[in-house]
Amino acid sequence: MDFLHFSPETDFKLLLAVPLIPLIGYVVQVFFGRFLPRKGDWLLTGGMGVSMAIAVLMLAKVLHEGGGEHGGGGFFQLSSDAGLSWAWLYQSGKAAVSPLNLEVGILYDGLGAAMLAVVGVVSFFVHLFSIGYMKGDRRYHLFFANISLFSVAMIGLVLADSLLVLFIFWEIMGLMSYLLIGHFSHDQSTPFFQRWATWASKKAFLTTRVGDCCLLIGMMMFWQHYHTFEFVDLWRLANEDVARNGGEWPMWMTIAGLFIFGGTVGKSAQFPLHIWLPDAMAGPTPVSAMIHAATMVAAGVFLLGRTFPILSPEVLAVVTATGAFTALFAATIGVTAFDLKAVLAWSTISQLGFMVAAIGTGGIGLVAGLFHMVTHAFFKSCLFLSAGSVIHGCHHEQDMRKMGGLRTRMPLTFAAMGISTLAIAGIPLFSGFYSKDKIIQAAFTKTSLEFSGAAVFAAVALPIAAALTAFYMFRMMFMTFGGTYRGEVAEAHGHGHGHDEHDDHHDHELVHSEDGGIAPGHPGPLPVESSWPMTVSLLCLAALGFLGGKFWLADFDVLAHHAPWFVRLVSPETLYPGVELMNGYGHAITHEMVEHAEHTAHTLALVVSLLVAGLGIFGAWWFYGARKASPERVAAALGEVYRTVARKYYVDEFVNATVIRLTHLLAHVQRWFDENVVDGIVVGVGRANRSLGFLQAWFDRTVVDGLVNGTAAVTQLFGSLARLFQTGRIQQYVTFAVGGGLIAAAWLILA
């Protein structure tokens, strides 16, 4: 198996090709896309396919080198070690030795390999899906270009070997999400979507940019101390620093770590910056699939994976607490949502909470969190694409109350979505089970070893969130595919009913835009199965979601007693080789204790996760499948509580009323200040000068001419004022010049 050997000389170039191929495709598409046959969709889909193939090949190499039976020591490659990096800022000879120069290189390890493959696969299938889904769109070619660059950004982020490079791609990704979420803002045919998309894209960009700025500050703080952005150096230097400090993390590092986590909060939609993600579904569904699975939100978690060694225990506690809270918080909202995509969006936030909380617990949790990121990518992209297929079939209807009975009408979609739902709900044999189980195990382990508030909170909140997850996912399945079709059926495409109607009838409904209401669909013929590019993508992703668990485990041990390859490749030891992590448990806790705790927690977690999944599914069946009880009645009984949850705890309203209002108020106040005070001073000085001119004129006509006419009577003086008013200005100037000169002379003489 010689071709599976990783040789830095050639393989880094091959890795470079992964982002470069779609990038070149993007450039070609932007300029020439509209002239290409089929508007160039084949070009980018094909390009992405090649990238995917390379990414998978590289993953195979990594597995062969470090994950298989031969390796075991992990896999870690830096292109700068092989002399393959690019001096970015300076290239002249003198500058090359300067610490100021930034070298851009590739960091390729187990995590990067897994993530690269995930991004490649999901991107490719999203491209393929889009061929069917976006057919007939006005800006078809640009859509493909943008989504391709979106993938490039994520690929670049995954391959980055320094914080700064990561940040660059991070920001580019933000831009592309802005453009893609706002895809419909140019579509004049659906005013609702247009307004919503415009607003949502701006919201997404600005909200995540708040997080970006935090990340930037965190980067600066680390740079200021270590003068490097390279991950490897940062890990080493920070941990050496802490070790020298006797295991105490300096205050600045905690603050910097919190700022870096701020980046994750923004991109990975953690509370309180989660508000952009539900609205991000204003974009086309394939975009949502990309954002929720492989790109945007994964980037934040990936960042945590990359910066884990420089986060102090205090930061990790905050991370755990934030993640756990987000998981629970979003899950409760997910239960109340009626918009098909909104359910998925809240479930994403919730799952992200799981990942973040897991990483915060450290050790096995780090592995579990990253593992969940990878498995989640497959089933969530599949869920979104299935939702897209459903919405496509139901004529852009997104309200689940207008669906139902699609099981027979769209069997392939149903199959794909069902598999993915089982996966996300945490049913054994499906991939989601393994990762979620591990997360709960990590939370329990942490609690048993270190009885801290954050850990306990995570240990309590996460299982509840898992139960809610199973509940609302199956609720969605029952509402969408079960029962009979509840949508309006019309032979011809009539004009849809306005969404105002929704608001009138259901005042507890999800408010996800300033316009309110769920995007209106329009009645059409009965739904039918989607075209082949869509269904093929769905089924492939569903297969990965199902088989994925096995694949990741690399053996058929359901309980996963043996460490699967992912754990071998992606573990604190192999991810950060040569770094003595200082943010783990204290010295008091030995390795054996950890092992023991993990083992104990494992069994417990297995029981708990199976239990909560079962509970959730049963609840969903009780309320929505069998309709033994009316959910509406429960909602009414809960009253104000339900309303609060359905309104997403009024976070949006709060932000609107405080941050946004305040900003605009500040802007207007400052504008007023600028125009009236700052400029007013300037104009005032000008006015004063002019007044001085009037004063001179007054002086001229009263004193100078008064001198002349002083002998005349006062009445005569007044009478002559009108005439004297016209005293020439040139002469007046001369008078004052001479007078001033004389006064100056007099002063000089007398002084």
Partner: protein, 100 residues
């Protein structure tokens, strides 16, 4: 005759020029006043050059003053003619477009 005599003449001529500008209400008198002031300055230049200075500096300055006076006179006359066309008057008191 010492330098002070020349300076006195110069000062007197300067004063005459200033009064000419200020007191008369015809723009041509303004011009003539300016010429007087320039001449007063020239007397000073040459006198100081003669009595105290070395080299040519003072006389050179005088020459330049004369040159500038010539230029100024030409432009000023042209302006006067235009002002007359525009305002039908050559009283500087009525030429007030510079106010704003």
């Amino acid at each position: 005759m010492g330098v002070e005599a020349y300076v006195a003449v110069s000062a007197a001529l300067f004063a005459l020029g200033v009064v000419c500008i200020i007191a008369r209400r015809n723009i041509l008198y303004v011009l003539m006043g300016i010429e007087m002031i320039l001449n007063a300055a020239n007397i000073n230049f040459v006198a100081f050059n003669r009595f105290g200075g070395d080299g040519l500096d003072g006389r050179m300055f005088a020459i330049f003053t004369i040159i500038l006076a010539a230029a100024e006179a030409a432009v000023a006359l042209a302006i006067v003619l235009n002002v007359f066309h525009l305002f039908d008057s050559i009283k500087p008191s009525e030429v007030d477009l510079m106010r704003e």
